[in-house]
């Protein structure tokens, strides 16, 4: 698996991280070593095996569609300085 600067930068931007030049150079050999370790899975045959997205079988738990107590709008906004008129305020999109 070829791990180069371009791929590392592509992953970083997908994950909304802005890595410094130094971090990129540090990560290239480290990610390579880890991904080599991950590649051990190439050796096992799982053709007829189903994936386990959870370790135990889960039952669907449902409840009546009735409103239960929850945070008020004021409470939900109480932990941020980024708010306006009862809404969260984010950075400019355009």
């Amino acid at each position: 698996m070829q791990i180069d600067k371009q791929l590392v930068q592509h992953i970083a931007s997908t994950a909304r991280l802005q890595l410094s030049e130094q971090e990129i150079n540090e990560f290239i050999p480290q990610l390579k070593e880890i991904l080599d370790m991950f590649s051990q899975l190439d050796q096992i045959d799982v053709k007829n095996t189903l994936p386990s997205f959870h370790p135990i079988l889960l039952e669907n738990v449902t409840r009546e569609d009735k409103i239960k107590p929850s945070l008020t709008q004021e409470q939900a906004l109480s932990l941020t300085k980024h708010k306006e008129d009862g809404y969260f305020k984010g950075p400019k999109i355009l």
């Binding site: 970083a12 990610l31 070593e33 386990s52 135990i56």
Partner: protein, 496 residues
């Protein structure tokens, strides 16, 4: 319950400070302490003041807390003085920082959550508070649980037996304070790939990681949602059973909470073990990590196996080739994939740390995340993002989920014959900080070879302390089938 604030709090504090609480002799036995609170033969407010003072003194030397919740603890104590009830009445509880406590800064050891004071309690916290537990504080940990040595964070806890050594991780602060606290104390840890038993081993205490879903994750700042489990840490196995009794059980606030009935786990304490069958995972005593497993661990564990055999427990060597070969890569693929999605929500807008909204959309999030995640968090986000990317997803992520099935099947096959499996917890004894620096990230991950598989399979497991080798604690790991926490307590209490 309201936390005392302002004048009312200072009045209480002043009245305590004027008392001679320094002279108090703390009760270390949990049962005796709870009884003394119930029958009001001790003043729990004074005891709390003393416990806080001791916790602060220990913390100065060992860095076990991110926050000591003095105001909350004293308010709780004052309430308890009026109404001395509950199965944990007056017991001091230290809580891994990743578990939310209402009104107390909860950061999961991360800069990105600086200042976050949750508006609600995690279910485990609410259950403990309902039973009269007093919250001592939040404990230091690897950021979001990313590490096995509790060094990936700003507040690095030190080993209770030698300050040059690590506590293990990621629940390092919870394990360390459990060893050092000289009063009726319990702790909550959390494990994704070994973060309860690993620090329990290095700090010489009991730590039990329950079956996935047995204990509610509601209010946990998550790492890997199909892997995370909250569990008890304590000095005795009796205390482990008592705390598990309170935190285990279905929670309708949590979608993956198990609906199976719970049991009274204290019933299993000291129950006869004669004729029980234990499999010794022989592959994990060999050359599985660098120069192999520390021989002092192997010797100490086999001595305990002999003790069990003398009590007519049937112990046989077993092998788990698939689990031990593929456990680590499968675990790290799944854990990093889930971590990268869970950590996507930390964007500096709704809670925790924040910047000024000067830059545009992507620039704001990117810069904020770059500045506030540690290197290990970034490494894991990068890995998890990569293994989920189009073109790689089937080769890594989906494949790892299928390998997980194979590993669960390998365990299930053994549990048809055996009640429990025995292995080391870690391949090494508590290392020095200076020794860790030589390891690459991949070598750090490999150190989880014993603990990652039961976590991946969602199986309950426990560290049982079995003495010391000089200044390093020894322990062994027991693993049982899903929802068989009782057997962990039963066999664990037979090992003395």
């Amino acid at each position: 319950m309201a936390i005392l604030k302002g004048q009312r709090y200072y009045k209480l504090k002043l009245s305590i400070d004027n008392n001679n609480y320094q002279e108090i002799k703390m009760i270390t036995n949990l049962h005796n302490h709870i009884q003394a609170v119930h029958n009001q033969s001790i003043d729990i407010v004074e005891y709390t003041a003393k416990a806080l003072e001791q916790a602060k003194a220990i913390n100065k030397e060992y860095n076990y807390f991110t926050t000591i919740s003095e105001e909350l603890a004293l308010s709780q104590a004052q309430n308890l003085k009026k109404t001395p009830t509950g199965r944990l009445a007056g017991v001091f509880l230290s809580v891994k920082d990743a578990i939310c406590v209402q009104g107390v800064e909860s950061t999961a050891g991360s800069k990105i959550l600086k200042g976050y004071k949750p508006l609600f309690n995690a279910t485990v916290i609410q259950r403990c508070i309902n039973e009269g537990a007093i919250i001592l504080g939040k404990t230091s940990q690897d950021e979001f649980g990313f590490g096995g040595f509790a060094v990936n964070t700003e507040i690095v806890p030190k080993n209770p037996f030698n300050k040059d050594r690590v506590t293990g991780g990621s629940s390092g602060g919870s394990a360390g304070i459990t060893q050092k606290a000289d009063f009726a104390h319990l702790a909550l840890g959390e494990s994704t790939g070994g973060s309860i038993v690993n620090p329990a081993l290095f700090c010489g205490v009991y730590g039990l990681c329950p079956t996935y879903g047995r204990v509610s994750r509601y209010g946990l700042l998550d790492y890997g949602s199909s892997l995370d489990k909250i569990g008890p840490m304590a000095k005795t196995i009796e205390d482990i059973a008592s705390l598990l009794n309170i935190i285990a059980g279905h929670d309708d606030k949590e979608a993956t909470s198990a609906t199976q009935k719970t049991e009274d786990y204290t019933k299993y304490l000291n129950r006869p073990v004669r004729k029980m069958k234990i499999g010794i995972i022989k592959d994990l005593f060999g050359d599985v990590f660098g120069d192999g497993v520390d021989e002092n661990i192997t010797k100490a564990i086999y001595k305990k196996i002999e003790q069990l055999e003398s009590e007519e427990v049937i112990c046989e060597e077993v092998s788990m080739p698939i689990t031990n070969k593929y456990g680590i890569p499968a675990y790290y693929i799944i854990a990093t994939a889930e971590a990268s999605t869970n950590l996507a929500k930390y964007c500096g807008i709704r809670y925790g740390a924040a910047d000024d909204l000067k830059s545009n959309y992507n620039e704001y999030f990117t810069k904020f995340r770059e500045a506030n995640f540690s290197k290990e968090a970034k490494r894991r986000i990068m890995l998890g993002t990569f293994t989920r990317m189009a073109g790689y997803r089937d080769a890594y992520y989906t494949k790892a989920m299928k390998v997980r099935t194979k590993i669960i099947e390998e365990y299930q096959h053994l549990f048809k014959k055996y009640d429990a499996l025995i292995s080391p917890v870690m391949p090494m004894l508590a290392p020095k900080f200076s020794e860790l620096e030589k390891l690459t990230p991949a070598q750090h991950y490999m150190a989880d070879i014993m603990t990652a598989p039961p976590n991946l399979a969602g199986l309950p497991h426990i560290n049982v302390p079995i003495g010391m080798h000089n200044d390093q604690a020894l322990g062994l790991m027991l693993t049982t089938n899903h929802f068989e926490e009782g057997k962990l307590i039963q066999i664990g209490s037979a090992i003395r």
